[in-house]
Structure formats: C-alpha cells, structure tokens
C-alpha cells in the first residue's frame, strides 16, 4: 500500500529522517513508535505531503506523492491536536471537508455520528466544544470516507475510556474491511492491543520493523513494553 524508499529530511542542519526504508502492508495496522523528536510526525507529514523531503521516494498505491496531490483522496488523517475555526459549527466543518474531497461520498457519516454520540454537538460552535469532543470531531473527519489508508496521530489522546474503545473498534472494523493503517502512538500497551506491526524510530532511523508477535517472541519477553525496553537496553 505504502512504500517509502531511502527517505531523508532535514530542517537546516538538523537531520530528522536519515534514510527511512519502510512499507505499510495492505490491510494491516502499523504502529509507529518512538521517543519525542525521533521523527515520527515528520515521517507522517512526508506521507501526507505537508513536509517536503530532501531525498527519497514515497509511493502510495504506485502514486508518487511528490508528483500529484490527488493521491490524498486515498487517505484519512486524524491529527494529534485538532484545532478548527472557532466560529464555525461542527457540522459546517464536516461539510467543508466533504466539499473539498473531490466528490468522495461521506459513506460513514451517520454511523460515526451514532458511534460517538455526536448528534447533540453537530450544531454547536467549535469554541463551545470540549477537548474530548473536538477529538471526536477529528475522528469523524478522518473516517468520513472509505479511505484505503488511514494515518492517525495519537488517536486516543484526550478521549474518554468509552470513546477510546469505540475508536479502537472502529480501527479494527476498517482493517477487516481491507484498510491500511499507520498509527503514531506513545502507548506501547495500547499499540499491542490493536496493531499488527511495529515500527520503532530512534533519532530518524528505524531500529525495529517487525510484526509485534514475532518481536515479542524473539526477545522472550511477556509483552511489547518489556520487549521494546529490553531491545533498547541491548542497543545502548
């Protein structure tokens, strides 16, 4: 689904990505994990076309992301912090994204409004929505269309436990329908509960790229958290 070849990105003298080679398997959930400043978000932004990389290639279903912006209709994106124009109503933001989507059909809208119990918030102005409700709005915008690829940046941050379970179930449901996921997260326990593959980035380089189960077995540990910590200790 996504192939990243020899990707480099630097901001001035600061090298953020140092030769990333990676692929996201179709129909799998890949968790992208790493400490703050390791390059996770920059990598996601390169895929989304928000950041221009210096060298390398990113292919999404054989579309080169550097040559055409239309590939973005294949992607649903949920940012870590959703901030929206505060004098617009939630429903107006949803309509804007639908209108900008190249005539894609918002097939999941009613389902998502029910799932997140969002009906009472649709006609509220963004400035009157709580942080958790804004996060739900971000989730609705990301899953509006039947996308082939979903990129989610800390999707459960700021959500209540019920909404957290809902979003995990939603991810699993979409995966079963054949969608591919790249999920940035800090929570190894959470990642273990729903992801198939683990990519661990450290200082702009991939140090782990493996199916989660295989990785835990190789290290001989009980869970992902212990396995990653053990791996990093050995590396140091």
């Amino acid at each position: 689904m996504v192939t990243i070849k020899d990707l480099y990105k630097s901001y001035g003298k600061l090298e953020v990505l140092k030769g990333i080679n990676l692929s996201f398997e179709r129909g799998k959930i890949t968790a992208i994990v790493g400490p703050n400043g390791s390059g996770k978000t920059t990598l996601m932004k390169c895929i989304l076309g928000l950041v221009h990389f210096n060298k390398g290639k990113i292919l999404i279903d054989s579309n080169d992301v550097s040559s055409n912006f239309n590939y973005r209709e294949l992607i649903g994106y949920m940012p870590q912090i959703g901030r929206y124009p505060e004098n617009l109503k939630a429903i107006e933001i949803i309509k804007l994204i639908i209108e900008l989507s190249n005539n894609r059909k918002p097939v999941n809208l009613d389902y998502l409004i029910d799932l997140f119990n969002f009906q009472p918030h649709l006609n509220k102005f963004v400035k009157n929505l709580s942080g958790g409700t804004i996060q739900k709005l971000s989730a609705i915008l990301a899953f509006l269309f039947d996308s082939k690829l979903y990129i989610l940046d800390e999707p459960t941050a700021g959500l209540d436990p019920i909404a957290t379970v809902d979003i995990k179930n939603l991810i699993t449901k979409k995966r079963e329908e054949g969608a591919t996921f790249a999920v940035v997260s800090h929570q190894l326990t959470e990642v273990e509960s729903f992801a198939d593959n683990l990519v661990f980035i450290l200082e702009g380089k991939i140090v782990i790229d493996s199916p989660i189960k295989d990785f835990i077995t190789t290290t001989g540990k009980q869970n992902l958290e212990e396995a990653v910590i053990d791996f990093l200790k050995v590396q140091n």
Partner: protein, 260 residues
C-alpha cells in the same frame, strides 16, 4: 475555481461571526457618526476619518490577519491533507480575510457617510476604495510574515513594527531628510519617496481632492505641480496594487514550498 470559492465562503462565514469583527464594525459606525455629528464640515470630517481609515484599518488588518493565520495553522494543515492545491488554499485564505474587511469598511464608514449627505459620493468612493486597498496591502503583508516566521510572538512584533514604520517612522525620516537637505532641489526625491509609501500616497491622494491640499505644505505643492488629480488616482491605484501583489506573491511561493 470551485474549491477557491468554497474555501473563501467558509473563511468569510467564520470571520464575520467573530465577536471582534462585529465590535469593530459597530465601533466604526459609532465613531464615523460621532465625527459627522460633531464636526459637520466636509474637510474636517475627511481629515478625521483618514486617521481611522488609513491608520487604524491597516493596523487592524495586519494584526488580525497575522493572529488569524497563526491560530489557523493546525486547520490549514488538515485542509492541506485533502486533495487540493496549496495555491488554491492560499488564495482562498487571502480572499476570505480581505472580503470581511471590505464589508466592515463599507458598513462601518461608508454607510454613515452616505447617510449624512455631507460629502459627495465620488469622494466617499475614493476614500473607501483607498482604505480597502490599504487593508489588502496590510493583510497581504500579514500573509508574507506568517509564511516566513513560525514563532507567533516574533511574527506579531514584526507586523506591528512594519505598520509603525509605514505610518509614522517613515514620515519622520522624510521630515529629517527634507530638513537636512533643504538647500538642495530635492522635490522630486521627496515626491518619489512619498509615492513609495502606500499610506502617504493614500493620504495625499485624498487631500488633493479638496482645498486641504494646502495643509500638506511642500509635499502637497510638489504633488500638485507634478501630478494632476486623475493621474494621481491612477498612480495611487497602481502603486497600491504593486504593494498588494509583491508581498502576496512572495508569500504565495513560500507557502507552496513550506513545511507544515
């Protein structure tokens, strides 16, 4: 074109609902009405209104524009993840910011002026269009600043300094220059320097429309000598368009290459 229209429409919808813009519009209506009521002399009304329209409006334009763009950063990122061109988003953001300001100027100053019947419609039109062009210039500078300067406080500081320079410091510099070189024939240089500054040019262009030109002293005399009223209008319009175009275009190319 359709995408540009959609972005502009949503942007206008968001801005005209802002309490800030509503308060500013009513403030302008009130101030303009009070000036007309208490002064009741067309020359004095115009001179007073020029302070609002050529000094305050640009300040609000550059500060509101910069604050708005800094606050919209995350939303701009989200919109850019949709299948749209960066250039379309940039133009939509610009139009969506400028159009509410045009409406505010027309409603806040134009309506009370038109209702008072104190000033001839041609001059009201000239005053409004010049003020609108100035707002476009300062919003365009706000776009330039926010595409280059990531840090909000630094960007707002630079925005304020640019406004301060064009409104006040530049005039001080001109005054110093004409005093220091008073023994030399510097009229043409002063004229050129005045034309370069969009606010000075706007002030002179309006003042030349009526007897107050005499108040401008040497600049007014030089201006009247060199430039007829109709040529003045053309020059003002052209220079103001250049002032909109240059910051807009530099910002536009930067926005296309920018990392979010």
């Amino acid at each position: 074109m359709e995408t540009l229209y959609k972005i502009t429409k949503f942007q206008i919808q968001n801005i005209i609902r802002s309490n800030w813009i509503i308060i500013y519009t009513f403030g302008l209506i009130l101030t303009t009405s009070l000036i007309i009521y208490f002064t009741n002399d067309s020359s004095k009304v115009i001179v007073s209104l020029m302070t609002i329209m050529f000094i305050l409006n640009p300040l609000i334009g550059i500060l509101f524009g910069s604050i708005y763009l800094y606050n919209s950063r995350e939303f701009i990122e989200l919109v850019l993840t949709q299948p749209i061109k960066r250039s379309t988003l940039y133009s939509g953001l610009f139009l969506g910011l400028v159009i509410p300001f045009i409406l505010v100027t027309i409603v806040g100053v134009g309506l009370p002026l038109a209702a008072s019947n104190l000033i001839e419609p041609d001059l009201i039109g000239n005053l409004l269009s010049t003020s609108i062009l100035l707002v476009c210039i300062f919003v365009s500078i706000a776009f330039l600043i926010t595409t280059f300067i990531v840090e909000r406080s630094a960007g707002l500081g630079i925005a304020f300094i640019i406004w301060l320079f064009l409104c006040w410091i530049y005039d001080g510099f001109l005054l110093f220059f004409s005093y220091a070189f008073q023994d030399y024939p510097i009229e043409r240089i002063i004229l050129a320097l005045t034309i370069i500054n969009p606010i000075d040019l706007a002030r002179i262009n309006i003042l030349l429309r009526f007897e107050a030109a005499a108040m401008l002293g040497i600049t007014g005399a030089v201006f009247q000598d060199f430039i007829s009223a109709s040529l003045g209008k053309v020059i003002t319009f052209a220079v103001h368009l250049i002032w909109i175009f240059i910051p807009f275009s530099i910002g536009y190319f930067r926005f296309k290459k920018k990392d979010f």
